[in-house]
Symmetry: C2
DNA sequence: CCTACCGATCGGTAGG
DNA sequence: CCTACCGATCGGTAGG
């Protein structure tokens, strides 16, 4: 790489990085900041600072602040949906399938996807109607797939009720964990997922 | 009242109202706006407009925008805690007590307290550390009282587990309902509360 | 509680 | 991707 032949390597490393994914840097930094301070509490200058740009430069990659929020949000929901479909493709028995879905959901929600999932759950409502409709559509798809997992649990006798309200309550218990989970605390995402399963599933016999 | 003797009654009615609780008007309007658009997405001018004041006037009642947020937040948690303690004072059996607590919680969360509870749940994190500590302390008190209700359920055999995680999961399922509840939808707060009870409690026999 | 206003900051843009 | 900047708007205040 030509970078190596430049006389001032250190300076190049921090200011140039020609082929690095600056767009990805921006959405990761924006996700973290939107999570910490909220969308409206975060300025373009905050985001630019976090990736060592000047305040005008994020607009070279995104046409508006809203577009950054939209990108962060869809990144979150897309990964969650992809993960869910991968787990279901394993074709496990109903109970094992549900447990795996919850573990996967929580691993992302409380782990690498913390910021993206948070923004999707709590900040996407600040998008304008058109963008919000897209996000809502993707969330509905997630719920639809999850719903089929619950239906199988009812069929196998592991769950009493898979109505729309029951589904919302279960997903609520899961998603709410992002509010109180402490990564330095005693329990990890998997342990929480298992507690959730024990709470809503019938006792095994 | 002297108001009645004024020649232009209509004008008086909209501009004077000398002894009305303007402070209460402000926090109600602020609650609704913070719920709709978020704390940072709501301006002092939005709030002032909503109660027919000019932009500088809210500062006659509150020393800062943060103080309005703090007041809205504590109003929410105080009412919820008071309601909870009133239900517990009825001294019902464990299962009936739990059901009554959940119904009361949801009636406020999805009904008259919609805005206050929402702001408490989702916007209070934007307070500065000192104010947030006060709110956190009140929330902890709520959880503590709720925890005792769960302990009795375990003792009576109606619930398998009342660990801290189980408690968080149950409260999460409840609180999350504010995200999806549709007041024009099919089910009312009480029906949702009963579904929650059916989901987490052992079957009666 | 209003009028009039302030300094700071915001999202976004033109031109390079 | 930076420099330099713009119009709009923000939270808050002084004086009445």
């Amino acid at each position: 790489m030509e970078v190596l032949s430049k006389p001032d390597g250190a300076s190049v490393a921090t200011t140039a990085a020609p082929d690095a994914n600056r767009r990805g840097d921006i959405i990761r930094a924006a996700g973290r900041l939107f999570h910490q301070k909220g969308y409206n509490g975060t300025t373009i200058r905050d985001i630019a600072d976090a990736v060592n740009m000047r305040s005008g430069s994020p607009f070279y990659h995104f046409k508006s602040k809203h577009e950054i929020l939209f990108t962060v949000t869809t990144e979150g929901i897309e990964v969650m949906l992809r993960n869910l479909e991968m787990v279901i493709a394993r074709q496990q028995p109903p109970r094992a399938c549900f447990e795996a879905c919850v573990i996967t959901h929580m691993n992302y929600l409380l782990g690498p996807g913390r910021d993206f999932a948070w923004v999707m759950l709590y900040e996407s409502r600040l998008l304008d109607p058109t963008e919000r409709a897209v996000v809502h559509c993707m969330s509905a798809r997630y719920e639809e797939v999850f719903s089929a997992v619950l239906d199988r649990l009812v069929a196998s006798g592991d769950l009493r009720d898979a109505s729309a309200i029951a589904r919302k309550l279960i997903l609520g218990a899961i998603n709410w964990s992002a509010q109180w989970y402490d990564e330095n605390g005693a329990s990890d995402p998997q342990a929480i997922a298992q507690q959730l399963c024990a709470l809503v599933l019938r006792e095994k016999n």
